[in-house]
Amino acid sequence: MNQQQRSEVTIVRQTAARFARDVLVPARHALLHHPDEALPAGLLDGLLGLGLHELGLEEEGERALLGAGLEELSRVAAAPASLVLAHVIARECLRQTGALERAPAAEGAGALLALPLYAEPGLGDEGPSLRQDGAAIVLDGIAELVVGAPLAGAAVLVARDAGDRERPALVLAPLDAPGVSVGPALLTLGMRGAPTADVRFSKARLPATARLAGATESGVVARDAARRARGPALAIAAGVVEASLRTATEYARERYQGGKQIVDHQEVRALLAGMVEDLALCAEAAELLCGDALAESRALALFARAKRRAAHATCDGVQLLGGNGYMEDYDQERCLRDAKQAQALLGRTDLAAQAATEAWLAEGAGS
């Protein structure tokens, strides 16, 4: 990273940190209790005002800026960062398929794109099925846990093409089209405050252009967009671990048990040491993955391991605070939930690890 890029990263960090402090901190209760409680007016506009969602995944420099911004937000709440990430990945799919101009033209949150952010990229788990009908395509079934769906104008998702041996088909679906309905905002483990819902398609007829790519290309595009998003996704986890470690460290200095600050108990030090290790792994990996330097096998393996460690670190963060860690007041429980949900970003860690092995073998390793 050159001097210019470094100073840009600093500016993005500072802007995002200010937004986190001035807007997200006061909105903490609503964020924690969404969807039971509505998000404060102005939060989404403020988020969009940061411009992070306009950064692309194509260039390494922009990915680094995005990662820096998302990390700062996630120290206070990872939910808004996950909304931005979903939108940016969806836009990358549009860019790669030459469909950027088809993104919704609405103002405000309506301009957002929603995405099933926790599904395996390009696998089309058990998503909706797609059938060609003359000049139209017809979608049927449910896309689960689509991040941003209750707000967004459209969603990018993977359907299974019934006519092509159930192979994946990347689709841009307007969420107000006939036959498309967005379910109620769902309660999730973490990232509460990122409105997320199931999207149901009931014989929804969309123009053929809604299909962004053919079978082979769809999988490639979805996976490539996800590949480019790994760094920023991991930056979310790193932000959460940083917050957890900071709270844990302060608490370890303030709390007395056994006649001394608990930071002076070796078991507590061991918890802190593990968290420092995990944070180093996550933060460094996030930065590395924003770049293009790593071979695919290493990138995938690092991504899987770092996400897993982030979840473990925040469990230790709760543990270090004892009973207080279990309570909403201290933010450690939020970190535990957000980090565990972040572990599922872009799919299961186990499948990422398997893909890493495949890449390792394909790269001709050991031969």
Binding site: H33, D36, P116, Y118, A119, E120, L123, G124, D125, E126, E144, L145, E166, L186, L187, T188, L189, G190, Y256, Q257, G258, G259, H265, E267, V268, L271, A311, C315, V318, Q319, G322, G323, G325, Y326, M327, E328, D329, E333, L336, R337, K340, Q341, Q343, A344, G347, R348, T349, D350, L351, Q354
Partner: protein
């Protein structure tokens, strides 16, 4: 390996002997005990299917909206099923079963919902605490609160208040207690005591009728002056403070208890020596095994849900259960359940041999429970005989006569099973979320809830950090010292 649903259906629900091979073997020597355990398991299983599982997610949502919500319907249903009286002696209106039988039931309920299981089971800590004082009058009082209430359809719940805002780990260990920064004190006054201070995170604290409150009469000398007090929630100067908003186990409220010149009569203080030392060791040696059982329950709840998910969902057109990576994970989860269970069963049996259970359900008391018909056991004549100064002195004599190594053995097993069981429980939660992918993240599928619920098990009844140190002191160190002939 391809999953064969027909072969699976044949072994879907494990029998008692499959779940507890050690006990089944033991049952050949003590068939009566085995029959009790099996009955409790069957009853708990029915209750879990009929009441707990259908309500668990609904109750969570209610508490999310209002932390003071209480699942009265579940409490009443458990009351009708006689659950609260399981481990209460027949003389006091209970079923007269052992602590171990109760734990087997708690594993089953916990696999359905840890929060509701805690709501229905946490009174066990109060009963254990009162039992460990040897105060038979106090025992009768707390037991009857449960059983007589149960007969009327709603038991009077109990809570146990040990933790203070500035002393959590410190009040769980006698050596640490000397250095604790305590805020609570029970000052002797004419005719009784005035209690002052705050207790925090007390399970069922906001809904209990009576609280077993642990306080020193001189907070500068807690080791020699800490006693148990029975405080009713109507006592003047007592109030419930905040009810916590917490990560999980939402069905079981955790509350702050505030004592402001709270007067209790002399009789409220249980008649015993100071609790730190023998009595607290006996209590925790017994109840930590119970938390180990909840660890097994968490492991099992996670395993059962992951298995169901794997059988009913596909990735890339293939059933998850036919994927080797999933099969290996499920195998590990099964193993974790077995390990957690094996350890708590050891802890439970060691507690029956060496710990608190030998006082409550073993010895002469136990023999009476087993042999005499209920009518005799519930008769006024026998009650008078049992609830007497002589029994109290006998029990307290028995407690004092217990050998150090006996208490250490029960404590080491209790702590080991707590640490191992709860860690394995958490491990299975991680594995379940991995298998279930997107479904694991949503509340309506009931998988992420176990993860949040299980985390508490590593914290309460002494953090796992403290319990590891307990295993070191009571298992490693004292055993080694004895072998080499040195003093522990």
């Amino acid at each position: 390996m391809k999953f064969d649903p027909d072969a699976f259906a044949a072994g879907a629900e494990q029998s008692f002997a499959q779940m507890y091979p050690v006990l089944a073997a033991l049952g050949q020597h003590r068939p009566r005990m085995l029959a009790d355990y099996e009955r409790v398991l069957a009853d708990a299983r029915r209750f879990r299917r009929e009441h707990l599982e259908p309500s668990a997610l609904r109750v969570e949502l209610e508490v999310r909206r209002n932390p003071e919500y209480v699942a009265e319907d579940i409490i009443c249903a458990a009351s009708t099923a006689g659950f609260f009286g399981t481990m209460i002696p027949k003389t006091f209106g209970g079923a007269g079963l052992s602590f171990g039988a109760m734990i087997v039931g708690l594993e089953e309920l916990g696999a359905g919902c840890l929060g509701l299981s805690n709501l229905l089971g946490v009174h066990g800590l109060a009963i254990a605490t009162v039992s460990a004082t040897g105060d038979i009058e106090g025992m009768e009082k707390v037991c009857r609160l449960l059983t007589e209430g149960e007969r009327r359809g709603r038991p009077n719940l109990l809570s146990t208040a040990i933790t203070e805002p500035t002393a959590g780990t410190d009040v769980e260990d006698v050596d640490l207690l000397r250095k604790a920064r305590l805020v609570c004190e029970a000052t002797p006054v004419r005719g009784g005591y005035k209690l002052n201070g705050r207790k925090v995170f007390i399970s069922n604290g906001s809904i209990a009728h009576t609280h077993v409150v642990i306080m020193p009469t001189d907070k500068k000398n807690p080791v020699e002056t800490t006693f148990a007090f029975l405080v009713e929630s109507t006592a003047p100067g007592f109030r419930v403070g905040r009810v916590e908003r917490k990560l999980g186990q939402k069905a079981c409220p955790a509350a702050e208890l505030v004592f402001e010149d709270c007067f209790v009569p002399e009789t409220a203080r249980l008649n015993s020596k100071a609790l730190p030392g023998r009595a607290i060791e006996l209590v925790l040696g017994a109840t930590r095994g119970g938390v180990g059982a909840w660890g097994a329950a968490a492991a099992r709840g996670a395993y059962e849900r992951a298995l169901l998910h794997a059988r009913t969902h596909k990735v890339s057109g293939r059933w998850l259960i036919d994927e080797q990576w999933v099969q290996i994970k499920l195998a590990n989860m099964w193993k974790n359940v077995a390990l957690a269970r094996a350890l708590y069963v050891e802890a439970m049996l060691s507690n029956e041999l060496f710990g608190l259970s030998q006082l409550v359900s073993g010895g002469a008391m136990g023999a009476l429970q087993q042999r005499l018909p209920r009518a005799v056991l519930e008769s006024q004549a026998l009650r008078k005989l049992v609830v007497s100064r002589r029994t109290r002195e006998a029990l307290q004599g028995q407690i004092a006569a217990m050998e150090e190594w006996e208490v250490d053995t029960a404590s080491a097993w209790g702590s080991a099973s707590k640490v191992a069981g709860t860690d394995l429980g958490m491990e299975n939660c991680h594995l379940a979320l991995e298998i279930c992918g997107t479904a694991g993240l949503r509340h309506d599928r009931g998988i992420e809830k176990i993860y949040r619920d299980a985390k508490l098990l590593q914290i309460y009844e002494g953090t796992n950090q403290l319990n590891r140190l307990e295993v070191f002191h009571r298992g490693v160190l004292r055993a080694t010292a004895r072998r080499s002939g040195g003093a522990a």
